[in-house]
C-alpha cells in the first residue's frame, strides 16, 4: 500500500490536489481535557447545509482522505447526516471521537457508514487518571463501552494516547488495554499550544528523559530503537534542500474549522480564507497565505537548513514554528524531540542558547519568547 499511496501523493502534489482535509465539525465537547488546544464555545458553526455544500466542493476539488474531528463530533445533532453525505461522495472517512456518546444505535450507524477507522482518545487504563484528564467522571468506562461496541461490529478502532506528565507512566497500560479490546494503538508525546496562541498548557509536556524513554521503547516504534535513534545523517545537500518540502500542509493537505476558516493544518493556524465567502478550491489555489506556505522549501529555512538533523531525523512542524513566531524558523518542541531521539543538539537549540547568552535586552523587553522568536527569523 505504501508505494501506491506514495505514488498517489506524488501525483496530487504535482497537480496541486488537496488530497487530505481535516474538517472539525464543532469545538464543543462533553469533556474538558486539561491539555486541549481549543476554546469550546460555539462562535457560529457552519450549518448542515453549509457543511454539505463544502463537502460537495471538496469532492470536486479531489479531496480523498477526510478526517472528521472536533471537539466531540457527536455533539453535532446532524453528525450522521453529514457523514452519510460524505460517504455518498465516496470520501475515505476517518473519525476522531471520545466515544462517550456511542451506544448500540450509534455503533450500528457508524458501522453502516464504513469509516476507514475511528480514533478514540484514551489517556490511561486507570479511570482515576483518565477521568482526571478529561474532567468527566466515568468517561473511561463510557469510552471503553463505545470502543467495544464498534470493535464487535468490525470497525477499526485506534486508541490515541496523548502523553503528558499526569499519565506518562500509564502508556504501557493503555497499550495492553488496546490489545485486550481489539483496538490499535498510537502514541503522541507532544502537547501543542492553544490555537489562540496561549502556551500555558505546554507545561503539561513530559520531561526530556521521559521523551527519551518513549523514543527508545521498541513496542512503540515501527523500527528498531537503534535505527530510530541513530545519529542524524547531516544537513541536506543544497540541491536536495531546494526540493524538499517541510510537510504536506498546503501542499496536499489543509484544515477547515467549524466556522469555515481554512488553514494549512490543524496545528498551523494561519488564516487563508473562509468557505462562507470564498469557494474551497479558490482558497486552496489562490490564497496568498496558502501559496506562501507552499513556496517554502527546506533551503528557505535559515536555521533548520544548516541543521544536521535536516537530512532525516527531524520532524519539524512548520505550524508549531509559526506559533512560535516564524513559520520559517525552528520549532523548539521538535528540536527537543530530535535531541531526545539522537542526543545531538539541533541548530535551533544552538540559536536559542545564543539568544539567551547574548544581551540583556531579552530581560528588558520582559519576554524571552519574543526575543527567541525574533532571533529565529535571522
Amino acid at each position: 500500500m505504501s508505494t501506491l499511496l506514495e505514488e498517489m501523493s506524488a501525483t496530487a502534489l504535482r497537480l496541486g490536489i488537496p488530497l487530505g482535509v481535516q474538517l472539525d465539525l464543532t469545538y464543543r465537547c462533553n469533556e474538558r481535557c486539561v491539555h486541549c488546544y481549543l476554546d469550546h464555545d460555539d462562535h457560529g458553526e457552519m450549518t448542515t447545509a453549509e457543511i454539505k455544500e463544502l463537502l460537495d466542493q471538496m469532492a470536486a476539488a479531489g479531496v480523498f482522505f477526510l478526517t472528521i474531528s472536533g471537539g466531540e463530533i457527536l455533539m453535532r445533532r446532524d453528525f450522521f447526516e453529514i457523514v452519510e453525505h460524505a460517504r455518498a461522495l465516496m470520501f475515505c472517512v476517518k473519525l476522531k471521537t471520545n466515544a462517550v456518546m456511542i451506544h448500540e444505535a450509534e455503533a450500528d450507524r457508524i458501522e453502516a457508514l464504513a469509516p476507514e477507522s475511528v480514533q478514540i482518545s484514551i489517556y490511561s487504563h486507570r479511570p482515576e487518571v483518565h477521568d482526571a484528564i478529561t474532567k468527566l467522571p466515568g468517561s473511561l468506562k463510557k469510552s471503553l463501552a463505545g470502543t467495544r461496541l464498534l470493535v464487535e461490529r468490525g470497525v477499526k478502532v485506534i486508541f490515541a494516547n496523548v502523553l503528558m506528565r499526569d499519565n506518562f507512566q500509564d502508556y504501557s497500560g493503555v497499550q495492553a488495554l488496546a490489545a485486550e479490546v481489539g483496538a490499535r494503538y498510537t502514541v503522541d508525546p507532544t502537547i501543542t499550544p492553544m490555537l489562540d496562541g496561549d502556551r500555558s498548557i505546554l507545561n503539561l509536556n513530559i520531561e526530556r528523559a521521559e521523551l527519551e524513554q518513549v523514543f527508545r521503547d521498541s513496542s512503540l516504534l515501527g523500527t528498531s530503537a537503534e535505527e530510530f535513534c541513530a545519529p542524524p545523517p547531516g544537513a541536506l545537500a543544497e540541491a536536495d534542500a531546494m526540493d524538499t518540502l517541510p510537510c504536506s500542509a498546503s501542499h496536499t493537505f489543509c484544515y477547515v474549522s467549524p466556522y469555515g476558516d481554512v488553514y494549512p493544518c490543524v496545528q498551523f493556524p494561519l488564516p487563508t480564507g473562509n468557505v462562507r465567502t470564498t469557494r474551497f478550491i479558490d482558497i486552496w489555489k489562490y490564497s496568498p497565505q496558502m501559496n506562501e506556505v507552499r513556496s517554502i522549501t527546506v533551503s528557505d529555512l535559515p536555521v533548520c537548513s544548516t541543521c544536521s538533523h535536516s537530512g532525516g531525523s527531524c520532524s519539524r512542524c512548520p505550524g508549531l514554528a509559526y506559533m512560535e513566531g516564524n513559520m520559517r524558523g525552528p520549532s523548539s518542541q521538535d528540536c527537543e524531540k530530535s535531541y531526545a531521539r539522537t542526543g545531538v543538539v539541533t541548530a535551533g537549540m544552538k540559536a536559542r542558547q545564543g539568544a539567551k547568552s547574548s544581551v540583556g535586552l531579552v530581560q528588558i523587553r520582559g519576554s524571552s519568547f519574543v526575543a527567541q522568536a525574533n532571533l529565529a527569523q535571522l
Binding site: M1, L4, L5, E7, M8, T11, A12, R14, L15, I17, L19, A59, G62, V63, F64, R87, A88, M90, F91, C92, V93, A112, A114, P115, E116, S117, K156
Partner: protein, 98 residues
C-alpha cells in the same frame, strides 16, 4: 445463461486522482488503482445493469474488441474486484449501491 449483476461495495472509498481511479477498501485499508477496463466496470456497477450490458455499452462501444473476449476479460476483472471486497456480484439485481 443467468445474468450477472455487479454493484459497488459500500465499504469502499473512491476518487479520481490525476485521471486514475483510486479505491480504498475500509475492510482492510488497502489501496487499489483501477485500470481503464476495471474503471469502466466500476462506473457501470449500479447493481441493476447486467454485466453483459455494461461490457456492451462501456467497453465494446469504445474499443475495437471482440465481444466474447471483452466479456471474458470483464469477468476476470470482476472476480478480482470481488475478492478484494470492492464489488459485489449476484445473479439478481442488487438494490443497495452508492
Amino acid at each position: 445463461m443467468n445474468q450477472v449483476y455487479v454493484a459497488r461495495a459500500k465499504e469502499v472509498a473512491a476518487r479520481r486522482v490525476g485521471g486514475e481511479l483510486m479505491i480504498l477498501s475500509a475492510r482492510d485499508s488497502k489501496l487499489f488503482s483501477l485500470n481503464e477496463t476495471a474503471t469502466l466496470i466500476w462506473e457501470g456497477a449500479d447493481g441493476v445493469t447486467p454485466l453483459a450490458e455494461i461490457v456492451d455499452q462501456r467497453i465494446c462501444r469504445g474499443f475495437e474488441v471482440d465481444r466474447a473476449v471483452a466479456f471474458r476479460d470483464a469477468e476476470e476483472v470482476v472476480t478480482g474486484l470481488v475478492e478484494h471486497g470492492i464489488l459485489k456480484v449476484s445473479n439478481m439485481p442488487i438494490e443497495e449501491t452508492q
